[in-house]
């Protein structure tokens, strides 16, 4: 059966750590980093990259257009 695998890239300097992508992700892929960017925001990152399905929910809701999404069928 074809399986979908995804990955996201967060623009860590643009991210404001609002957490809305973390909430929107249906697969619990994302968390906020303990490290902060140069503005002091704890930016979003993939904690469980293997669970990403490339649905782009995180990217749709991001108010700052920080997330780029990739998807492949494997």
């Amino acid at each position: 059966m074809a399986k979908v695998k995804g990955a996201v890239v967060v623009n860590t300097e643009r991210c404001k750590g609002c957490n809305l992508c973390v909430v929107a992700c249906p697969s619990d892929v994302l968390i906020l980093n303990k490290e902060a960017n140069s503005k002091g925001y704890n930016f979003s990152m993939m904690e469980n990259p293997d669970d990403c399905v490339g649905c782009a929910a995180c990217a749709y809701v991001c108010p700052d257009a920080c997330i780029t999404v990739y998807k492949v069928r494997v």
């Binding site: 490339g54 749709y60 991001c62 108010p63 780029t68």
Partner: protein
Amino acid sequence: MTTNEIINPANLVYAKTKVMNDTPMHYCPGCSHGVVHKIIGEIIDDMGVQENTIGIAPVGCAVFAYKYLDIDWQQAAHGRAPALATAVKRLLPDRLVFTYQGDGDLAAIGTAETIHACNRGENIAIIFINNGIYGMTGGQMAPTTLHGMKSSTSPNGRTVPLNGHPLDITKLLAMLDGTCYVTRQAVHNVAGVRKTKKAIRKAFENSMLGKGTSIVEVVSTCSSGWKLTPEASNDWMVENMFPAYPLGDLKDL
């Protein structure tokens, strides 16, 4: 397949539209303004009208909208965006002209301009960000502030005897003969973002078809003014704003 192998231009499914530039937006974390800016940029990109679009920025938190979307802009005095849009569209009828306005801008100081532009049926789209508060100036009560809602000028909550009723201006605008499309949306989740995008696209298309005025209200959050996290703001909006400002089309001719 490793993450690094997946991250390849051939597998791209979503990226920031180029109509939105790389200037960091000044909005508070999680602010609905950012989501709506992004949607507008995507629609302009999809429609291929970047060179042909003129936005009218308001006074309010979105006063700097012109810094983030690479289209032509005018910036109006507080509340006057529909009047300015009227002039721009009448002088340059081949351009896509839209206003972007908060609730203080559109439903308080700009009430007259809003109502008369809609009543004249100007061929413009009005994007109305209703967060129930004056975000920019520190969270004062707006005409749209809900019954019982706290703001810096209604610290114990809005009351009818003192402050009157919340103004559902969108319902009022739907009654005017000049409006062709009046809808209320929200961008708190993926379905909402998709529907809002469809609605704004339709409003833009209507304006180019000369059908009259379209209004897309986006019921929005102001986490700073509401003193909640962005996530809690979305929940609060669903629970409290949606009953007063129910989502859906009010008019679609």
